[in-house]
Amino acid sequence: AQTVTQSQPEMSVQEAETVTLSCTYDTSESNYYLFWYKQPPSRQMILVIRQEAYKQQNATENRFSVNFQKAAKSFSLKISDSQLGDTAMYFCAFMSSQADYQLIWGAGTKLIIKP
């Protein structure tokens, strides 16, 4: 069974700094999909960025980028020029290409951006 591990329960950085959140996963598949979602205090889960495993190029969305290391089964999220509105829980999620109906989630990292 696939698992997703986020080893940092909580992180805090100053506004405008860069922060990297870690995620590792375990799978025997070669093709799959990885996601980072953000859950602010409002509770709504918001898609931040996604990556297809067969694509070697790391995904980027404005200030958000990933470092996808397929051999190491690592999928970290880098937030540049952090803003107060980035304060939230961040979840890493895995979707199997053979079971693409469900997301398998990590436990989350609580990110606090300090003014």
Binding site: F35, R43, Q44, I46, L47, W105, A107
Partner: protein
């Protein structure tokens, strides 16, 4: 473009009662998935509906059931409520298809408290 909507936002029930939660998918999406998120944890997959049928189910008892209507909206029903059913219930919608097309977009959730 309306996103995923859920109702109600909060609900308080007592043990043994039954509850119905509702979800309307994002415009253009025909697939609805339900997740349970306990406090401080990542979401757990309950089931997925497509074409008014339950397509896949996670490790949840039969007390959890659902329905999808012709307009793609969905209901989650939980019978014989237990204290452990207290959680945030998230609805996600996606277009039916393979791989990354199944990216799931979430509603704001329903917070259920069982006393």
């Amino acid at each position: 473009d309306a996103g995923v909507t859920q109702s109600p936002t909060h609900l308080i029930k007592t043990r043994g009662q039954q509850v119905t939660l509702r979800c309307s998918p994002k415009s253009g999406h025909d697939t609805v998935s339900w997740y349970q998120q306990a406090l401080g944890q990542g979401p757990q997959f309950i089931f997925q509906y497509y074409e008014e049928e339950e397509r896949q189910r996670g490790n949840f008892p039969d007390r959890f059931s659902g329905h999808q209507f012709p307009n793609y909206s969905s209901e989650l029903n939980v019978n014989a409520l237990l204290l452990g059913d207290s959680a945030l219930y998230l609805c996600a919608s996606s277009p039916w298809g393979a791989g990354i097309r199944q990216t799931q977009y979430f509603g704001p959730g329903t917070r259920l408290l069982v006393l």
